[in-house]
């Protein structure tokens, strides 16, 4: 114990947090395992490309190794899964191959199945209070207790290509839907196969792009009381507008089957005038090398009559499974992971944003691009936290894109029926 403390202070990573975590482990040891070495399994989403140095596997492995040095009796076994194969996680859980820590999925369904530790069991009070509060409600189970924590966040804005805007003689970035339509039409008219507005309504993230448009018209997935209101008149009007936008040829052909990554790639290649994006688009632009930092700009997403004052904030969660009974070890590791240095190194690797207040402040101070996005996070709009949101989300991804057509109201109507009848 003494040696471990010494090692800890020597390394000095988030000293106070680790110390408190450590002391709690000494009081609670024996409950998890009968002393000796403990291996905790971490299952996480891969935000990079598997098999390259950019893979999130290397980020977690780096953390696990550093952590193992200061906590020699805890080994963290890291496994990452690509987002495109994410269904594998559900399969693993169904096969009862529970990880100890899962990064990527929302807690509600797991919590309802009684698989999770309460957040306070696996994270020290200091870390919990440091989490950005706007996402708190999305971490609660039906009993109103938090079962997860945001790990990484991002906020949305409208990226526009200054080169194309100059070529089409457009002076200012768009502020309203009408601006988008006019600007997109001008960019399309430049010829050469340019896309005016990239509208990814395909299954990858139809819910995100649609939400940004719904918000621009005062709509959304739920009403003010938190009940589903997918087919509210504002949303129908929004999708009717998208339909006219598509028909005018201002978007790419076939938005309902175009995925976000395709549009981001096309934007990075300089072929798209405007696209909704988060910080995660920036590495694509850099990698592609077609646009320099001065060739594109980011503005708030336009709404029907004015830009959005609140943007869409999204986050990915960390949850802890209780089957293996490693609460103490998980707590030590999570407190280590949520230290400012570790939060920031993740977010700089993938151009995402931190989930803790202190890391946000630290990152804002040194990264102006991130600061622009970060200032929007604390008051952002978030996805609903209804218990069946996961199920509804899967349906939305598949179907929502087809609402941008002549039958917006029937598509949205059947989605509303689905959402309310699958409670």
């Amino acid at each position: 114990m003494k040696r471990r403390l010494l090692a800890l202070t020597a390394i000095g990573v988030a000293g106070a947090l680790s110390l408190s975590a450590c002391s709690s482990s000494s009081t609670g040891s024996g409950s998890g395992s009968t002393g000796g070495n403990v291996t905790i399994k971490l299952l996480a989403a891969d935000y990079g490309t598997a098999g390259t140095s950019n893979s999130t596997q290397s980020y977690w492995q780096g953390l696990a190794d550093t952590f193992h040095k200061s906590h020699p009796n805890i080994t963290v076994q890291v496994q990452t899964i690509a987002w495109t194969n994410w269904a594998q996680v559900a399969t693993m859980i169904q096969d009862k191959q529970y990880p100890d820590i899962l990064e990527g999925d929302a807690p509600q369904q797991f919590a309802a199945d009684g698989l999770l530790y309460k957040l306070t069991d696996v994270m020290s009070a200091n870390t919990v209070s440091n989490l950005i509060p706007v996402f708190a409600k999305q971490e609660d189970g039906t009993d109103g207790t938090a079962y997860g924590a945001p790990f990484t966040t991002s906020a949305r804005g409208l990226f526009y290509n200054k080169k194309l805007f100059a070529a089409a003689k457009i002076a200012n970035p768009p502020k309203t839907w009408a601006d988008i339509q006019a600007d997109a039409t001008k960019i399309k008219a430049l010829g050469g196969g340019n896309i005016g507005y990239g509208l990814p309504l395909g299954p990858e993230e139809a819910q995100g792009e649609s939400y940004l448009w719904m918000l621009g018209n005062g709509g959304g997935y739920v009403d003010s009381t938190g009940k589903y209101a997918i087919n509210q008149p504002a949303n129908i009007e929004t999708f009717n507008f998208l339909n006219t936008l598509i028909k005018s040829g201002a978007t790419e052909p076939g938005p309902a089957s175009t995925n976000r990554q395709q549009m981001w790639d096309a934007f990075s290649a300089g072929q798209v005038g405007m696209v909704g994006g988060s910080g995660a688009l920036i590495p694509d632009i850099v990698k592609n090398g077609k646009l320099t930092t001065s060739d594109y700009g980011v503005v708030p997403m336009p709404g029907k009559s004015a830009p959005l004052t609140q943007t869409l904030g999204v986050h990915d969660d960390v949850v802890a499974f209780k089957q293996a009974g490693h609460a103490d070890q998980i707590k030590q590791f999570l407190d280590f992971v949520y230290s400012d240095a570790n939060q920031i190194s993740f977010d700089q690797e993938y151009d995402l944003l931190p989930a803790t207040t202190s890391a946000s402040a630290a990152l804002s101070a040194k990264d102006p691009v991130a600061a622009g996005f970060l200032q929007n996070v604390p008051n952002s709009v978030v996805y609903p936290s209804n218990t069946n949101w996961n199920t509804v989300l899967a349906k939305l991804k598949q179907t929502l894109g087809t609402a941008a057509s002549d039958n917006a109201s029937s598509v949205l109507g059947s989605l509303q029926t689905f959402a309310t009848s699958n409670q």
Binding site: F110, P253, G254, A256, T391, K395, T402, N422
Partner: protein
């Protein structure tokens, strides 16, 4: 997987037929008779065990799954009665999906067999480079279906797919990014049918070619002596004698095409929405929102394929042809 399913279902029949008559024909007294009747069992055990394990067990568990209520993470929340089936039949997308499945099977199998009949006839003739041509035909068969589908998807990419580049350069299309066939229901489905035919033709051709080579030359000689023309010969001699091969080709194709997943999955994912889904894709897409409902769709699929196979066997009097 389907092929093994079907093979498995057909297999027990000849096996039990073998055991039956032998036991009846030789009446031996008491326990020895029982022993004798059981004698084939050790030899049948491995196959039976395999069938039980890889066919019967999944089928049973599929039925059980279709009657349970699962949450979004796949945990069993108790019995759903027939709820999954009611929900499935209430799906607004279902009628379209069923109709497309019929179009899909009929169009792909029909056109595949028509094309293969022609190609097989050609390959049955002597011509320079025939060996090479026969090898070439194996390529779409040997290549992974997933790979073929992805290649076609790329060729149809609205901004740089080779097919669209060709159309652009030939002047049929003014600007890139103006058409995206895979996002429109009808063109997307037609392209998927084209790819399905492309990957089904090689096997079908080889099955038919084997059939053609089995037709004895002297039948044709007799035919020529009787003064039959080419059409008459083909209609009255070749086609009837080709019947067993045609039957095998059609049956295997129907099952394969009905269950075909990768082509549509890779090219459109059944989308937009479920506009290009067949029942197999619909089952997969449903599974993301409700596992029980997807299992119900599987059960319906399973019933459908059994009915098709039985109808087909009956219509073609498979058994009499075999005996």
């Amino acid at each position: 997987m389907t092929q093994s399913t079907q093979a498995g279902l057909l297999e027990p029949a000849p096996g039990s037929d073998d055991a039956g008559p032998r036991a009846r024909v030789r009446p031996v007294g008491g326990g020895r008779r029982v022993l004798r009747a059981l004698a084939p069992l050790p030899w049948l055990m491995p196959a039976t065990g395999l069938i039980l394990f890889v066919v019967i067990w999944p089928v049973v568990s599929m039925f059980l799954t279709s009657r349970q209520h699962f949450d979004s993470m796949g945990f069993d929340q108790g019995s759903a009665g027939w709820g999954n089936f009611t929900r499935l039949f209430d799906e607004p997308d279902l009628p379209g999906v069923l109709m497309r499945t019929v179009i899909w099977v009929v169009a792909v199998v029909g056109l595949t067999i028509l094309i293969s009949l022609g190609v097989a006839q050609m390959f049955n003739k002597q011509f320079p480079g025939r060996k090479f041509a026969r090898w070439m035909l194996i390529a779409p068969w040997a290549a992974s279906v997933v790979m073929t589908s992805i290649v076609f998807k790329w060729m149809l990419n609205p901004s740089n797919g080779t097919i669209l580049v060709l159309m652009h350069d030939l002047g049929f299309m003014k600007d890139y990014n103006s058409v995206n066939w895979l996002s429109q229901q009808t063109p997307a489905f037609i392209w998927e049918i084209v790819v399905a035919i492309f990957v089904s033709v090689p096997f079908t051709t080889y099955a038919l070619l084997a059939g053609l080579q089995a037709v004895p030359e002297d039948v044709y000689e007799a035919c020529r002596l009787d003064g039959a023309g080419a059409v008459r010969t083909y209609w009255s001699i070749t086609l009837p004698l080709l019947r067993p091969a045609l039957l095998v080709a059609a049956l295997i194709n129907i099952m394969n095409v009905f269950n075909s997943f990768p082509i549509i999955y890779e090219m459109t994912g059944g989308g937009p929405g479920n506009q290009t889904s067949t029942t197999t894709l619909f089952m997969y897409n449903t599974q993301q929102t409700s596992i029980g409902e997807a299992a119900a769709m599987s059960v319906v699929n399973f019933g459908f394929i059994i009915v098709v196979v039985l109808l087909f066997l009956r219509a073609s009097r498979w058994n009499s042809a075999e005996d």
